[in-house]
Amino acid sequence: MKNSVDAIASIQKAFDEHGYICSLQIATAVFLSRHLDKPILIEGPPGVGKTELAKAASKIFDSELIRLQCYEGLDEAKALYEWKYGKQLLYTQVLREKLGDLMDGATGLKESIAKLHDFDDTFFSEDFLEPRPLLKALRSEKAVLLIDEVDKADDEFEAFLLELLSDYQISVPELGTIKAKSIPMVFLTSNNSREIGDALKRRCIHLYIPFPDANLERRIIKSRVPDVESRLREQLVDFVQRLRELELKKVPAVSETIDWARTIVLLNARELNPDIVKNTLNVLLKFQDDIVNNEGRVRTILDEVKRKYP
């Protein structure tokens, strides 16, 4: 038991070193996923670092990152594998003469077909197989598989995923069953635009990443935008934290905070003032309506921030 506490702490430290500040929750989920061989379903508002988590994990565990972006209408062919039809056709054309040689000596349709049967495997072999992300993940030595926005895919795809994620093997009719060399680490992300089916949820470890608290956000800014001075950093984070409490169409997430910090550094500002805020607010608030409707409140927030961190 003691080793698990240590292991989780070391995972957290490893994430820190690679620039991804993570909470205890996240580190625990990663630890459990590795030891129990279960996929992680990450939910949360957009921009909190779900995809980043998978990228950081691939760096830490020295695995290749294989990414599958889901959308409505995604099916097996595009996700699993496809035959290189073009190549097959091309080769048959080019080898037409060779085909004539092969048929030599065969009289009649039946014999010709029999001869052809000996060669049908050539055109459905590994050379003509185009592996797509899921097959790549199965065949890789060490892989982190990121299935992004799984809530955008439809139910058939979910059912197909279920099968894949429980046994980590698939059967290609022409090639037989392909088992995973080593079980990949699987991350599924969802923006909660629709309810993910129960069966898939039950198979996964469910991680919810909320907006970070002030402390965590400060550490993130420190790690990602080191040029920001500590006073400015405190002001920045406090401002964004207060901004999140307003009624907005799109609440600014961590990625917006990071971008804003970078913008302010670029403009050589040492602290927040009304001008800077007004000019760069569009980095934080992506909807014009939000900016226009909240001008007064933004000013109030800025005053409060300045009062707290003069």
Binding site: M1, K2, S4, V5, Q25, L32, H35, E72, R202
Partner: protein, 432 residues
């Protein structure tokens, strides 16, 4: 250790968390991996395996805190500490909390707190625990002290015993409360859907509304999948070949098979006279909660005449819209009049994709029922469903025109409780 986890999962299920067996097994594996050392890690790990939505996680954290505050200390103490044989008296006098906890846990383990269903008298449990902890030995000590004349000692010991009694009482109460509260909550939720809608009191309205919302959510998730079936993926060979005859058989233009789902159009006619208005309220609440899967709903309210209230429900929130709808309730109910109004307003819109629902008691004050109009609706619409809150025995009695309308309904059923409404809505969604 596993018993503790089993108890915890049992409590969770009691409070409405749906935890499957495979998840329970997974939780056991998590426990083995992580252990009790770090409570925060255990909390995080178990929450990721047992609670799969944000609301579930919130309630999970509350229950975890309540459950593991005392238990963990007990069990791990039992395992970790050596078996010191202090007497009960010494423990009480030295106020050795750790040893006291251990003794209490030992005494409590044969008792099954989770089997409590209602807040029965806790006295039984308290006395069992006292015995289990050896309180009778204390009594003997008191008696011997009195007989030997050591009154001060006797005082001391009986004070200690009282303190013990209080501590045990609070422990038992905490355990019992934890289980019985949850049981009561669940019971309430179980029984409300079957209560007759007119018997619902004001204070239960909030719970009812929450129930309607829950049912609606379940129905939506069940039937929402049927929305996106239009597929591209299967080649319609026949059509393709036909279309390409002009190209000498080469398949230039492909035609794909499409499966179209047609969403039902629903028209709801509600009798809003005093006797039936409660039911109308709930029916409309339901219909508008499932708007995701039933987008094309037109609603009408009638009493002596019929008005359309669709716009009210689209513009205002539910309460206000309901009040507007009730405005139609003036004068004496007349089904014939109302059907005539409907014919003028909306008959043209009734087609073979429409489902017409009529909610009322069919009591028309002996007016002309004009069932011919209903016959026309029956001919044009896909389904006509008549919902009557009265029992079947009352149909046709007095001024009820039920039997005149019955032949022109595809389905006529009694609709008195929330469960009936749910069955109805489910039926509509399924058949479309």
């Amino acid at each position: 250790m596993t018993e503790l986890l089993a108890d915890f999962i049992h409590t969770l299920r009691y409070t409405g968390h749906r935890i499957s067996t495979s998840e329970a097994v997974l939780a056991g594996e998590v426990l083995n991996l992580v252990g009790y050392d770090d409570k925060a890690i255990l909390k995080a790990g178990l929450s990721q395996v047992l609670a799969k939505t944000c609301e579930e996680k919130e309630s999970f954290y509350d229950i975890f805190d309540m459950f593991f505050s005392m238990e963990i200390m007990n069990d791990s103490m039992i395992e970790a500490l050596p078996e010191e044989q202090k007497s009960l008296l010494d423990i009480l006098e030295e106020d050795d909390r750790v040893a006291l906890m251990r003794l209490m846990a030992q005494a409590a383990s044969p008792l099954n707190f989770s089997s409590i269903r209602a807040f029965l008298s806790p006295q039984g449990f308290i006395s069992d625990m006292m015995d289990g902890m050896g309180a009778s030995a204390l009594d003997m000590q008191i008696m011997s002290a009195v007989s030997e004349g050591r009154m001060a000692d006797a005082e001391r010991i009986s004070k200690a015993k009282e303190g013990l009694g209080l501590k045990i009482a609070s422990y038992v109460e905490r355990q019992v409360r934890q289980f019985s509260e949850n049981a009561r909550e669940l019971k309430r939720e179980e029984s409300l859907p079957f209560v007759r809608l007119t018997a619902i009191e004001e204070y239960q309205m909030a719970t009812m509304r929450a129930l309607v919302k829950k049912m609606a959510k379940r129905l939506v998730s069940l039937y929402a999948r049927r929305k996106k079936v239009s597929r591209r993926g299967h080649l319609d060979v026949r059509m393709t070949i036909r279309r390409n005859i002009q190209y000498d058989g080469i398949l230039f233009n492909t035609v794909w098979k499409r499966k179209k789902i047609d969403r039902p159009k629903v028209m709801v006619l509600c009798d809003v006279s005093r006797s039936v208005s409660e039911y109308a309220k709930f029916l409309l609440m339901f219909i508008y909660s499932v708007q995701e899967v039933l987008p094309k709903v037109r609603s009408f309210a009638f009493c002596d005449s019929l008005i359309e209230v669709t716009d009210c429900f689209n513009e205002y929130d539910f309460e206000k819209a309901m009040n507007e709808a009730m405005l139609a309730a003036k004068g004496k109910t007349s089904y014939g009049n109302s059907l005539e109004d409907f014919e003028k307003l909306a008959m043209a819109d009734v087609d073979r994709k429409t489902t017409v629902i009529i909610l009322g008691d069919a009591r028309s004050n002996n007016d002309d029922p004009k069932e011919g109009i209903l016959k026309q609706i029956h001919g044009r619409a896909r389904r006509v469903i008549f919902l009557n809150p009265e029992n079947k025995v009352s149909w046709g009695t007095g001024d009820s025109e039920m039997y005149k309308y019955l032949p022109y309904c595809h389905k006529a059923s009694v609709c008195a409780s929330l469960k009936d409404l749910e069955a109805l809505v489910s039926d509509i969604l399924r058949r479309s």
